[in-house]
Symmetry: C2
DNA sequence: CCAACCGCGTCAACATGGCTGACCTAAAAG
DNA sequence: CTTTTAGGTCAGCCATGTTGACGCGGTTGG
């Protein structure tokens, strides 16, 4: 009897635990994107622009195909937003030296400034959460989040440099 | 000299740490939604349908306005997907007893089955991540995620309405 | 009791950001 | 020299968000 009850309760907690995880992800992601979205809206951009700006800032001289591999969208989708960002002077493209088909992307000063502005609230939000939770919790957070990724994504965090640097250049 | 270097390095680590958090969120959310999205695509639904099904399953007899408050979308947006789900027999509506203007929403058997199917891969993903990371890490994960929410969302986890004790998590 | 408010639905129009498919150029690689 | 690759472009479709306007019926307070 006690065994049965304990079993049921454990199942309940487990179900509840998993649901909590799902919801935390939903709510956190939504809040996480809401503030940049507002700024973006004012200048006629959307979340897709932010992602491009972010990753170009993260990996200067990234190529279009590397960016596509990170974002996992089609080149037509990327092209729309990337084109606007280039035309409006947030990103510049330089022809690759080794392979002149490549367009190496990097933020202009204007792009750096926008990136900083957009990501500032997100950095603050994360910094606040890290501070409130403590170093040990942050380590746990990272472990769990890593566990949710597919191998391909996980690899981006483990090596000293992103995969692109390790492969042929 | 050593002091300066340490200071710089610490700043770098902090920046790196925050970026890691941002990216974990981005990648994890994308992977988290990708599998249900595939199933949904096959039956002509999208992610929005999943969210509605999920929260109606989570809170049976939820009203339309409560659902709107959770999803934070306009009633026109909700109406589109909710209408389809009702028409196709995944959700049924019953007039509120206390307030007959309300439509209390709940999953039909068909709806429960779809919810289970859609969320199964997500549950597995989270369960796997929790298992790999360990109980302590899960606790840290939850702390950090909670810290990223706004007060309104956070409140949903601390004192939810029914059937939830003051279990320390 | 009735006017005002509220819960919900609906029509119309628009924006964003995904998608497929077709087709192009120029550079690299065999 | 032919094929493959990196990148771009046009055209159209779809899902899902938005605003604004309006209607219906139920609730509620003066």
């Amino acid at each position: 009897m006690a065994d049965l009850k304990a079993g049921v309760n454990q199942l309940f907690l487990r179900e509840e635990e998993l649901r909590t995880g799902m919801e935390l992800l939903f709510y956190a992601y939504r809040e996480f994107t809401s503030e940049p979205d507002e700024i973006l809206g004012e200048i006629g951009f959307g979340r897709a622009h932010h992602r491009v700006i972010y990753f170009v800032g993260r990996y200067p001289k990234i190529t279009v195909s590397e960016l596509l591999a990170i974002l996992k969208i089609t080149k037509q989708s990327l092209s729309r937003v990337l084109g606007e960002l280039v035309r409006q002077g947030f990103i510049d493209q330089q022809t690759g030296a080794r392979d002149r088909r490549q367009r190496l992307l990097q933020l202009t000063d204007k792009g750096v400034e926008l990136e900083r502005q957009l990501s500032e609230t997100q950095r603050q939000r994360i910094a606040r959460a890290y501070r409130m939770a403590g170093a040990e919790a942050v380590e746990g957070f990272r472990k769990v989040m890593m566990g949710m990724l597919d191998d391909g994504d996980r690899a981006k965090f483990t090596p000293p440099a992103p995969a692109r640097l390790a492969t042929k250049r």
